[in-house]
């Protein structure tokens, strides 16, 4: 079983988002982590490999910094990594998916895994787009996965419950929290990760250029959410205060 896992390096969940002088999100001083949903995908890939045999390749688009996420995946037990450096090109979901699909089509694959969304932009589009470009099925938001006889049986969350779907391989499966509990890399794994192959590619290596991946969506501006306003304390006797609260909720907050 040849498994490809899509991985994205994102801001730490505790990172404080600030805008720089140009109004763009500033990454200075922010610690980066592997997108937590991608961690579920890596773990699932490793579990399938451990059961069925095979090979896990982790793939990311990004600069030098994305290497950390790939190295973490290698330390967890993935066999090799592919890192595509997009250079100066601006990325949107279309561009990222185009690059990933191209990089994957150079590999042998039976199964493609990824997080169902990244915690930074939260668009939840990339894995689906990759499936579309490669013309293979996709099952999203998966919390249970079985591989048997060239098929994937995936349990996915729906708004009212869950459903079980069967798709032929190769297919793209995106991970939701609950799929598994990702392992911590072992110290030995971290030492070994350094010696595992990391294939670094440019757009040109993939036969792509800025024109072929030119972003279809452009972010015009970013703004931070309004800071939460201070609460209001209503003094007085309970009955009196409750009456005042009801009045304020109706007349001022207009929620009842």
């Amino acid at each position: 079983m040849k498994i490809a896992v899509l991985v994205k390096q994102t801001f730490d969940t505790e990172a404080k988002i600030i805008l720089d002088v140009n109004g763009k999100i500033s990454s200075s001083g922010v610690s980066l982590i592997m997108n937590p949903y991608d961690e579920f995908a890596v773990e699932e890939g490793l579990r399938i490999k451990e059961k069925e045999g095979g090979e896990v390749t982790v793939i990311s688009v990004g600069g030098q910094q994305a290497q950390d996420a790939l190295r973490q995946a290698l330390a967890m037990g993935a066999d090799k990594a592919v890192l595509v450096d997009q250079g100066e090109a601006e990325l949107d979901e279309y561009a990222t998916a185009t690059i990933l699909a191209k990089a994957i089509s150079d590999l042998e694959y039976d199964l493609i895994l990824g997080g169902f969304r990244a915690i930074d932009d939260g668009s939840a589009q990339v894995a689906g787009r990759v499936a579309e470009i490669l013309n293979i099925p996709v099952v999203n938001v998966v919390t249970g996965l079985e591989i048997e006889g060239g098929k994937a049986v995936a349990t996915r969350e729906t708004e009212s419950g869950s459903e079980v779907l069967e798709v032929p391989l190769p297919a793209v499966i995106t991970a939701q929290k609950g799929l598994n509990e990702p392992r911590y890399p072992s110290m030995k794994g971290i030492m070994k990760a350094k010696k595992k192959p990391m294939d670094k590619k440019t757009l040109a290596d993939l036969g792509l250029d800025d024109g072929k991946i030119s972003a279809k969506v452009k972010a015009l501006s970013f703004s931070l959410p309004e800071p939460r306003k201070a609460g209001k304390v209503i003094p007085g006797e309970a009955a009196e205060a409750a009456r005042e609260l009801a009045r304020l909720l109706r007349e001022e907050a207009k929620v009842i």
């Binding site: 950390d68 911590y184 890399p185 072992s186 990760a193």
Partner: protein, 384 residues
């Protein structure tokens, strides 16, 4: 001078911090209440390879240098201190003697299981009447045929109830005393005549177990002498001197955690309509805590580096132990003060750190002994 941390060690630090802050911390309260570290946390630490930090690679460990080990212990120091002690005492005093002084046969036989964490190591030197004064040791060993027969009682032995392999110091020649009359033995918990005595009730370190170790005609195979017969006192000092640097690193980690907790809490806690972090009284405490932490870190790194260069650290090892444990004492004390009344409550971690920090000035040689060693060395260096 290059203070940069290699990529590989940085990745290890990040992984351990993630594990400690997101996994071990969740169970900290439970460890306090049940006086027991959940087995699954120990299993995870085993899988991560944390028990093999200082054991050479050929015996299944990570073979880290002292500096690299300190960089990792720093992250472990953020955890509930009983968890840190379980691993720290094993990778330090529990295995150092075997790694540095034992025969190849003993290393091959014991180290792989110790590196994986399947067998926990402990160090038995202290006795009821021989604490700082090791020359009053009573536990003795007599050679009978192909076995050494040990008799005596050790106490305050960290990890003893959970350990399988003990480095035991015993008197083999009373006449010679500490000058050639002490020997180090490798004793398994299943050897005939070995037993665990009273398990102590301590001020803190809940979850870490400390007890008596009793030898009643305990039979130890002749080949289980660690190093040479008669070299046990020097061996014990060597084991302790390495442990001191590592203990410093653990104290630095605990300081880091407390500084972070306090810097965050001070910005959340509102009094007089403002976060208490806006008050100079609190800011001064935070500044002093952070400075103490960095000073302890700098000293620890420097002396760990000296160990790796093969330089003598007879004076500097004790300095690390003394300064870092006292820095932790100051930091933990201020942490309680920053938290105010909340800092005295068991539901906040600073109360636990405050109690647990106290042991670091006592074990692995009291700080008074460290001062004696430092001064003794200093006076020798400048002898007139």
């Amino acid at each position: 001078m290059d203070f940069s941390i290699p990529e590989e060690i940085r990745d290890m630090k990040r992984t351990i911090r993630d594990f400690v802050d997101n996994e071990v911390d969740k169970y900290s309260q439970q460890i306090e209440e049940e006086d027991k570290i959940p087995q699954h946390l120990i299993d995870q630490a085993k899988e991560m390879g944390l028990f093999g930090m200082s054991i050479p690679e050929q015996y299944g460990g990570l073979g880290l240098s002292m500096l690299d080990k300190c960089l990792l212990l720093e992250e472990l120091g953020r955890a509930n201190m009983s968890f840190t002690t379980l691993i720290g005492a094993h990778t330090g005093i529990g295995t150092t003697g075997i790694v540095e002084m034992a025969s190849e046969e003993l290393k091959k036989k014991y180290l792989p299981d110790m590196a994986s964490g399947d067998k926990l190591g402990a160090f038995a030197l202290t006795e009821p009447d021989a604490g700082s004064d090791a020359s009053s040791m009573k536990t003795n060993a007599v050679l009978k045929g192909d076995k050494w027969i040990l008799n005596g009682i050790k106490h305050f032995i960290t990890n003893a109830p959970d350990a399988s392999v003990f480095t035991v110091i015993a008197v083999t020649d009373r006449e010679k005393g500490t000058r050639g009359g002490y020997t180090a033995f490798l004793v398994e918990k299943d050897f005939p005549g070995f037993s665990i005595g009273t398990i102590e009730k301590k001020m803190g370190l809940r979850g870490s177990h400390t007890s008596e170790v009793i030898f009643e005609d305990c039979e130890v195979p002749k080949e289980n002498v660690i190093g040479e017969v008669g070299r046990g006192y020097a061996g014990a000092l060597r084991i302790l001197s390495k442990g001191r640097v590592a203990l410093g690193a653990r104290c630095v980690g605990a300081c880091d955690k407390l500084v972070e907790l306090c810097a965050r809490y001070a910005q959340q806690r509102i009094q007089f309509g403002k976060p208490i972090s806006s008050f100079q009284a609190i800011q001064w405490m935070l500044a002093e805590m952070a400075t103490d932490t960095e000073a302890a870190r700098a000293l620890t790194y420097r002396v760990a580096w000296m160990v790796d260069q093969g330089l003598p650290v007879v004076k500097e090892g004790p300095m690390v132990k003394m300064f870092a444990s006292e820095a932790l004492a100051r930091v933990a004390d201020k942490a309680v003060q920053v938290y105010g009344g909340m800092g005295y409550m068991k539901e906040f971690p600073v109360e636990r750190f405050y109690r647990d920090a106290r042991i670091t000035r006592l074990y692995e040689g009291t700080n008074e002994i460290q001062r004696m060693v430092i001064a003794g060395r200093l006076l020798k260096e400048f002898e007139i």
